[in-house]
């Protein structure tokens, strides 16, 4: 009976361990030594090295959304609203969610694999024995770098996604260029961008925390590292999609809804 209860509620223990792990890693940011070079390297890896794939996915996401919106608006004869619907969807939903999913696949998996391999080959033990906190050296820079980089990538996604939407809206669907821009100016609010950036910050933090945690707890050699990597990506993406709903409801919209 006791074993059944322990197994049934093991996730609560896991959640607690994750909370402590994340808290300790964040707290370590405020303690010396400050390794700015490691942080800059991580920002370069998460941000700069993801730029190309973010530009590519955002361009086509914006393009396809504009086309689908145009098809839908054509039914009711309001094609001029293509720009607003595309931009709003990009800024508030698509950019933070798609950016985070791309980052979870590209960066989260790499984080979990990297830390996992270090764990199973005793490199983390070696750090501990050199009296270096592995959390502070390995995890903290990744957490902070993701918090900084993912919202910036989200902003790039918004920009390039809108370019994709404009190309399709104006070039393919023949919406007037002037009206396209005019509607954006009329209906968009800076809060729409902030809304997406706040979400992206939360998602970035969660992706790195989940991936580092999974990698840090990896065991049983290559198989364990593979499992940790897989779990980190799946858990990150599911968490992003679930949390997205709650953040959408909780973050103020910045506009009056009738």
């Amino acid at each position: 009976m006791k074993n059944f209860v322990v197994r049934r509620f093991a996730w609560i223990k896991e959640l607690g361990a994750f909370g402590i792990f994340t808290k300790d890693a964040l707290a370590a940011f405020f303690l010396p030594p400050f390794r700015m070079n490691v942080l800059v390297d991580e920002i370069e890896f998460i941000g700069n090295q993801s730029l190309f794939i973010i530009c590519l996915t955002s361009l086509f996401t914006g393009a396809v959304f504009a086309y689908q919106s145009w098809l839908a608006f054509s039914i009711v004869g309001t094609q001029s609203l293509v720009s607003v619907s595309t931009s709003l969807a990009l800024l508030r939903e698509l950019a933070p969610v798609m950016t985070s999913i791309v980052v979870a696949g590209r960066v989260g998996a790499a984080m979990a694999a990297n830390i996992g391999i270090m764990r199973v080959t005793s490199q983390i033990d070696a750090l501990e024995l050199m009296a270096i906190s592995p959390l502070q050296y390995l995890v903290t820079p990744k957490l902070i770098a993701a918090i900084i980089s993912v919202p910036l990538l989200c902003a790039v996604f918004c920009l390039i996604g809108n370019v994709g939407g404009y190309i399709v809206g104006v070039g393919v669907c023949n919406v007037d260029a002037g009206i396209y821009i005019q509607k954006l100016k009329e209906y968009l609010d800076p809060m729409d961008l902030y809304h997406g950036m706040i979400k992206a910050t939360c998602f970035g933090f969660l992706i790195s925390a989940i991936s580092c945690y999974k990698g840090y707890r990896a065991k049983n050699g290559a198989e364990g590292v593979g499992r940790a990597t897989n779990e980190s990506v799946v858990l990150s993406i599911v968490t992003i999609l679930v949390l997205d709903y709650f953040l959408t409801v909780l973050i103020p919209t910045g506009r009056r809804l009738s």
């Binding site: 080959t121 005793s122 490199q123 033990d125 070696a126 501990e128 024995l129 050199m130 009296a131």
Partner: protein, 259 residues
């Protein structure tokens, strides 16, 4: 005269589930000596090492390193004690994202911030020369090195902070006899040069008898024999004699290795 003790393990118990690994183990490691622990595979030698390093906590008992009980230490206090250790891992555990030079320089850069890059370079060169690595190997990545080379880099890294205690987990497992001999000699040489205490786990009984000041034999979670190589050879425990004979150690070969 009683020797000064640097590591003292007192009544340590450890189980994994139903399986008992250490059952009231006691061991004292004298300062400045080379002590090797022998025992069959899976008897808990590496588990004991992890207890000394504070990487594992016992179910019961105390592990005193220079008078500090690592069982009750945490955070900064534990890190301070760990600065006395240099560790040569069984799987070496070199940082695979850093080259040979940076692996050895890493603990210096982290802990001796007052050192300039020139001073670090001199120290790293000194250590890598000591372990007989040539200059053109300094900038190779760990996966470009042979097993023996990796062990030597691991030893150089373990010695970077001039540790008082050098711990080696099967330092010569998987190496050919010539490289094994070299690594063993390096351990003796470095222990003399840095006046370090060496605590080693090994399956290489011949090497252990040749270089150790003391040997400990772990069986069923306890040290059943502790003494000089001569004492071990004269052990009254059947299991010790069985272990020695299965490793091909005879009185004659023992006298040969000690000469």
């Amino acid at each position: 005269m009683k020797e000064e003790v640097i590591i003292s393990i007192k009544d340590v118990w450890k189980s994994f589930g139903e399986r008992k690994i250490l059952s009231g183990l006691n061991l004292e490691i004298p300062t400045g000596k080379i002590v090797t622990m022998l025992g069959f595979s899976g008897t808990g030698k590496s588990v004991l090492l992890r207890h000394i390093l504070g990487l594992m906590r016992p179910d019961k008992g105390h592990v005193l390193v220079k008078g500090h009980d690592v069982v009750s230490l945490k955070g900064e206090a534990l890190r301070e004690v760990r600065q006395s250790f240099g560790m040569l891992f069984q799987e070496v555990a070199l940082f695979d994202s850093l080259n040979v030079y940076d692996n050895v320089a890493f603990p210096l850069r982290e802990h001796q911030g007052y050192l300039t890059e020139e001073m670090i370079e001199r120290k790293v060169e000194d250590l890598l020369t000591l372990v007989e690595l040539s200059r053109n190997e300094f900038f190779k990545m760990p996966d470009e090195l042979s097993g023996g080379m990796k062990k030597r880099v691991g030893l150089a890294r373990a010695l970077a902070l001039d540790p008082e205690i050098l711990l080696c987990d099967e330092p010569t497992t998987g190496l050919d006899p010539v490289t094994t001999y070299k690594i063993d000699d390096l351990i003796v040489e470095t222990s003399k040069r840095f006046k370090s205490t060496v605590f080693m786990i090994s399956h290489d009984v011949h090497a252990a008898l040749r270089i150790s000041d003391y040997l400990a034999f772990l069986w069923q979670g306890k040290i059943i024999e502790f003494g000089t190589p001569e004492d071990l050879m004269n052990s009254r425990h059947d299991i010790v004699q069985q272990f020695l004979s299965s490793a091909g150690v005879s009185r004659k070969s023992f006298e040969g290795t000690r000469q």
